[in-house]
Subunit: 106 residues, 2 copies
DNA sequence: ATAATATATCGACACCTATCTATGCGAGAG
DNA sequence: CTCTCGCATAGATAGGTGTCGATATATTAT
């Protein structure tokens, strides 16, 4: 259950259209905050809020360079997340369903 | 942007640990509501609420049979979702990043 | 018909979220 | 040192979310 709670945080981080698009942009490479901001109709503090959420969940990392902050996707976190989703939607040995599906219901 | 908003709804549906675990259980096959309820420390109305969210986003479907309601994963929706996530975290031709990454920043 | 059972809906509550404006803070430029 | 610029933080606000107890609805059993 700990595992589910941890990944649920990642799903929540991507549950906003703006953040989803930001991650898509970052998948092509590092971008500075102002470049990201250009593509959205939100204020700078709002973008900062979204970037913090993406960083806090571990999917994105920020790098300060002078006045600018560059954000990039954390490849390993993204892969782990993808693998987790795949495991969740795929039938597995040792699944949480408990393997008592074949019992008569109720 | 429409596309992001649509899938953001799916991420939101999976942003709760209980719902994430429910989907994992359903990936092994159809389950009746009471069987699902057994595995959680929540009340029946709360489970009903979660199942409605999972159904509304298209990831799960419900089938009434007498007194019972059986829920199952919608395989195509799950696959499409997985493919979308993969596209988002992978660099692509024709990406939303706009391909102007190589410009000097700001 | 009446009772029991499975599930959904309603109304309430505490908490969280996305957004804004205003402000703070650190780095470079003059 | 002071000004400007990029970004983060604080505070406010409207709306959403997870949970519950109470109740409604529908189906099966008596």
């Amino acid at each position: 259950m700990e595992r589910y709670a941890r990944y649920a945080g990642l799903f929540k981080a991507l549950s906003d259209p703006n953040r989803l698009m930001i991650v898509d942009m970052l998948s092509c490479g590092e971008l500075c905050a102002c470049k990201i901001l250009e593509r959205f109709d939100i204020t700078q503090p709002t973008l900062s809020h979204h970037m913090k959420i993406l960083c806090d969940c571990g999917l994105v990392s920020g790098r300060k360079a002078g006045k600018w902050t560059y954000y990039s996707l954390v490849e390993k976190a993204a892969q782990d997340f993808k693998d987790f989703l795949n495991a969740v939607i795929t039938a597995e040995e040792n699944c949480v369903c408990g393997a008592d599906n074949n019992e008569e219901c109720c």
